[in-house]
């Protein structure tokens, strides 16, 4: 069964055409990395998948549920899809543990003790159980992003979306977050990642999708895409990325 199916999705901001006929199918358990220059619409696309943005044409089906204005379908999808943001977006007024238990308690209706045990198990998995009683402001960027991953996992999602999870981090913290994501990928989670980390893409991705100006330009396994780019746009992009490294 396919986890995510996008069919001819179009989106406009005012008169600006930001997504153009995007069609993409992600199988259950598949790991897809989306890359492209800034402003290419990759973040917009991933945000459409859990309806933080609404698309205006075409259809998006997530885990068998089509995304519409219906609030119930929204609730269903948001429970099944976890998301990690570039800027972490932890809740600064809640402790790490409370950040992780909030949604299980109020959305999944889990007893508090159970939710806390679950949260601790995920905090252990991202290797920061000792920070549980602290507040987000007391943690480093890398630690915060790992908490954000744990927080999303506490809802036991079937699909995880990552929107440039390492872009806001200092270089020495990128690795700890990527290691966490690699571990997650090895556990069989369905993942869609917007990222520029080519090493991560090579190691983990089943497929890389290159977007530019709102369109999917090329897609395929990382080895073919990176070794033998077909389009000039991708060649240009790769040369810029590699120079940047």
């Amino acid at each position: 069964m396919n986890a995510i199916v996008l069919d001819k999705v179009n989106k406009w901001y005012g008169t600006m055409h930001v997504l153009r006929d995007i069609s993409l199918t992600v199988a259950t358990g598949e790991k897809v990395v989306v890359c492209g220059p800034s402003g290419s619409g990759k973040s917009t696309m991933i945000r459409c998948i859990n309806r933080l943005e609404t698309h205006q044409e075409g259809s998006i089906v997530v885990d068998g549920t089509e995304l519409t204005d219906d609030l119930r379908s929204l609730d269903t999808i948001r429970r099944e899809v976890g998301m990690v943001f570039q800027s972490f977006n932890l809740f600064p007024h809640l402790t790490i543990l409370e950040n992780c238990t909030l949604a299980p308690i109020w959305v999944r209706k889990m007893p508090k003790a159970e939710a806390e045990a679950l949260a601790m198990s995920y905090l252990e998995r991202v290797k920061i159980p000792e920070q549980a009683k602290k507040y987000p402001g007391q943690l480093s960027g890398g630690q915060q992003q790992r908490v954000a991953i744990a927080r999303a996992l506490c809802m036991r999602p079937k699909i995880m979306l990552f929107d440039e999870p390492t872009s806001a981090l200092d270089p020495e913290m990128i690795k700890e977050v990527l290691d966490t994501m690699i571990g997650l990928a090895q556990s069989g989670m369905t993942m869609v990642c917007v990222t520029h980390e080519m090493g991560f893409a090579r190691q983990v991705a089943d497929r890389v999708v290159f977007m530019d100006r709102g369109e999917i330009v090329e897609s395929g396994p990382p080895s073919t895409l990176f070794e033998a780019p077909k389009t000039d746009r991708l060649k240009l992009f790769l040369s810029q990325i590699l120079r940047g490294d």
């Binding site: 055409h17 006929d21 205006q56 044409e57």
Partner: protein, 434 residues
């Protein structure tokens, strides 16, 4: 791939805009309809009262007394704008001699010009810094000092020894005026902004007081209306600002704990009490403070109160700007070996003050409105003149019209200033975001 660039119909244009912003849900639709109904009702009623049924002119009897019977008949149905036509000179300029009222009128224009000029960035840049210009300004200051010194000596001689000094006072007075002109010209060239402010404020005082350049002298007791409001607020700002900067620096001082304490007490004391109590202090306690025989007039006393009050609030605004500066700036200045005053004048203040312009303008709007409180201690500002106009028997019952007019004047000034400060704020935010 698609090469459409236009979104499908029904996503942009006025109709989708309406659907999104006014009829987004049934609650939104209900609110929109209710509001439209209420607004229409109010606007129609106001239009009928203020325009259609309004009375713009009333006849006068042979004694020149307004016959307001038609206004009385129309009361509740139509506004009586005739009261404004009859009283606008009194409200705007108070009891300033009628034939000389062109002077306060120019003063109001000068104030507006000063505000507008102050919004132009070029005015705040540095002017021509050359030794020659500096000498012009210094020479001007010297001439003024000379005259004052002579006056002081004369006073000492007269009071202490009962004798007059054989000094050429006429010449000194002329030299004083020349000195003032030189000083302002020098300042204009050196720092255009300060020159513009000092020059305009001096010109305003000349126009109000008169007594030179062939202008008839007018005593302060005859001043009134809009100029008083503008003078209290603007002079308050101009004099409070330097004090505020010093107090803010004092409050941030780590080396001088006693001075810091003094500044904290001053700021918190003033900010803890209402303006009206400071004004009462100026009106009833100030005369007790002065040595017997010295009288300071009411307007000056209120002006001092406004300055002291404004300085405390401005000091907090300036302190906010100082705190917002990154610590690296001070450290960099220290590393360059600058002294405290050099560091403050060249590095810290220019940056901090730029940050605080928007809150500064907002504070000024506050003072501008607060000057209306001088009504309570019996000064003739705009609001007081409105009340005095209403005490004229034929017009007594038309307060709504007068109050609406006064409100409109205040709104024009305050709205203009708040728009300016909001524009600046957005500019600053954009500059910071980049």
């Amino acid at each position: 791939m698609s090469d459409r660039t236009q979104p499908p119909a029904g996503l942009v244009g006025p109709i989708p805009w309406l659907r999104k912003n006014l009829f987004g849900s049934w609650i939104s639709t209900a609110i929109t309809l209710l509001l439209i109904y209420l607004i229409a009702k109010i606007v129609i009623a106001l239009f009928a009262w203020g325009v259609v049924n309004a009375i713009w002119r009333v006849p006068y009897n042979q004694n020149g007394i307004a016959q307001t019977a038609i206004c009385q008949d129309a009361k509740g149905l139509g506004a009586c704008w005739a009261v404004i036509g009859d009283k606008y000179r009194l409200i705007l300029f108070g009891r300033f001699p009628y034939d000389e009222q062109w002077r306060p009128a120019i003063v109001v224009v000068l104030f507006v010009a000063l505000f507008v000029l102050s919004t132009i960035k070029a005015v705040w840049r540095k002017g021509i810094v050359s030794p020659a210009v500096r000498y012009i300004a210094l020479a001007g200051a010297g001439l003024i000092l000379l005259d004052n010194l002579a006056g002081l000596l004369e006073t000492i001689a007269a009071v202490g020894f009962g004798q007059h000094l054989p000094l050429p006072f006429d010449l000194l007075a002329i030299l004083n005026t020349v000195g003032k002109c030189l000083l302002i010209a020098g300042l204009l060239l050196l720092w255009p902004a300060i020159g513009v402010w000092v020059g305009t404020l001096a010109l305003i005082l000349v126009l109000m007081f008169g007594g030179i350049l062939g202008l008839a002298p007018v005593a302060v007791d005859y001043w009134g209306g809009l100029p008083i409001t503008l003078i209290l607020a603007t002079f308050g700002l101009a004099f409070a600002f330097p004090i505020a900067v010093l107090v803010a620096l004092g409050r941030r001082s780590t080396q001088l704990p006693a001075v810091k304490m003094l500044c904290v007490v001053y700021v918190e004391l003033i900010r803890g009490v209402p303006l009206i109590s400071v004004l009462f202090m100026a009106s009833v306690m100030f005369p007790l403070f002065m040595p017997p025989g010295i009288n300071v007039d009411k307007l000056l006393r209120a002006q001092i109160a406004v300055i002291l009050f404004a300085a405390a609030y401005l000091a907090e605004v300036v302190r906010g700007g100082l705190q917002a500066l990154p610590k690296g700036q001070t450290e960099a200045a220290d590393a360059m070996g600058l002294s405290y005053w050099q560091k403050t004048a060249f590095i810290i203040l220019p940056q901090a003050l730029r940050l605080v312009i928007p809150p500064l303008v907002n504070t000024f709007i506050g003072f501008f409105k607060d000057t209306s409180l001088v009504l309570i201690i019996g000064l003739f500002d705009l609001l007081t003149m409105g009340k005095i106009a209403l005490s004229d028997p034929p017009w007594q019952s038309f307060s709504t019209e007068v109050y609406i007019t006064l409100a409109a004047i205040y709104i024009v000034f305050c709205y203009g200033m708040s728009r300016y400060s909001r524009g600046l704020e957005q500019e600053l935010n954009k500059a910071r975001g980049r």
